[in-house]
Assembly symmetry: C2
Homo-oligomer: 253 residues x 2
């Protein structure tokens, strides 16, 4: 299978490497930035390309892994190509690729960093296509890469992306705020790391609603008042404390 | 070392087992509830006790692991005992034990569930005592149980406990809300679990502020507006979305 990777960011890097590892032949890596194109191309034994006119138009698979607002522009450049063209975006509908002959979505639900290795076989791959034939083609490719392949339509994918913002980006911000409280008291973030790991591990075989602990779920108003008093100089943190405590109480009422 | 455990909840259960595993002799387990006292006592080969008058007053160590608002009452019952008496609470000052001869704090910073095994050696133990002699005694006991022992004063411990609410209880609530969004769209929580694990693992060797991703840190107003629109029927979730997005922007401004 000849593959062309459009993009050189975190998603592109991990997708291209996973495809390479599954036995695919990475023909080209496109990036507007020549250094980025070269760097990823070298990693997967492909040719770096910065000009859309230089893209080989006879590959089997084109993976679009660029910023959401650039997908439409890339799709226009790939018009007329017969190979399968997929985008990898959680927040973008299938229909953005409607002008292409064979197209679909292959969305890996994970947070990627270039420097962190990750077991791609455990990443949920969410696939969608305009018809069953295309869906079967994408499914067979997705199965080469991961043990978790889900059929997810565009509306579901948007909600999934939103849920991921809560469970990843917002969670990370709570880690940030926890660390700000520690720093203010000359305490090391190392103190919180085992707790953070255990909090995530606890819900790997349970639903989070069943394992909630802490003052809000206990209705321990005394401790909550003490905490709010400690946050006197940080009204922004006090607001988050109140809002999330209220949410916990609502969930368990 | 002869130990008496006051309490039979999650913290008491894990502490008593860790002490037992380190070679201590668990003499008695006290709980108001006889079934709970018996169940933990059996686990660690101790005598179950429900009456304070039946507590052996010549043990080396008394571990108070009861609800915060019961610590003062327990301390009053233990008055006159010469052995070392520690409480295990994050939110309670050392001074609550001031009427006891030899006392201190041994606070394990972790979220405990009775049914989950946990590597106690990796749990940060935060210790405090009124003088250096007592601190050294508590430190030598803590070192038997864990590789991470920290000297933390009462004010620091209160802030640490507050930071733990952000990094554990509030984080778990975001998992709950993520799952509510999924359920509403007939999607399985299994989809989010790998993302949640990776989000926690990412900050084990990095500070969270350095690994933030998502629409808020990118300033991607279009995606944020789409998300808020999706949350139209859930003003409570929209409020949390706005509040945490604002917090992310503030952190990275």
């Amino acid at each position: 299978m000849d593959v062309i990777c459009i993009g050189s960011g975190n998603v592109a890097t991990h997708m291209a490497q996973a495809l390479k590892a599954s036995g695919a032949n990475l023909l080209q890596v496109w990036s507007r930035n020549p250094t980025h194109a070269e760097s990823l191309a070298r990693l997967v034994g492909a040719q770096p390309v910065t000009d859309f006119n230089a893209i080989n138009r006879n590959a089997d698979l084109y993976v679009i892994a660029v910023k959401d607002d650039a997908i439409g522009m890339v799709a226009a450049e790939l018009k007329g190509i017969n190979g399968l063209i997929v985008h990898t975006s959680g927040a973008t509908a299938l229909s953005i690729l409607a002008s292409l002959q064979n197209h679909g979505v292959l969305y890996p639900l994970q947070t990627f960093s270039k420097d962190r290795e990750i077991d791609f076989r455990k990443i949920p791959l969410c696939i969608e296509a305009p018809d069953d034939v295309m869906l079967t083609r994408i499914e067979s490719i997705a199965s080469l890469l991961s043990d978790s392949v889900y059929h997810i339509n565009s509306n579901q994918r948007k909600s999934l992306h939103l849920a991921a913002v809560f469970a990843c980006n917002f969670v990370n911000q709570l880690y940030v705020l926890g660390n700000q409280i520690l720093e203010h008291n000359h305490l090391d973030f190392e103190l919180l790391r085992p707790l953070i790991m255990e909090t995530a591990m606890k819900i790997q075989h349970e639903l989070p609603v069943n394992v909630q602990t802490g003052p809000a779920v206990r209705g321990d108003r005394q401790t909550m008042d003490n905490h709010l008093q400690l946050l006197g100089a940080r009204p922004d943190l006090a607001e988050i404390y109140e809002t999330l405590s209220k949410s916990i109480k609502k969930t368990h009422s």
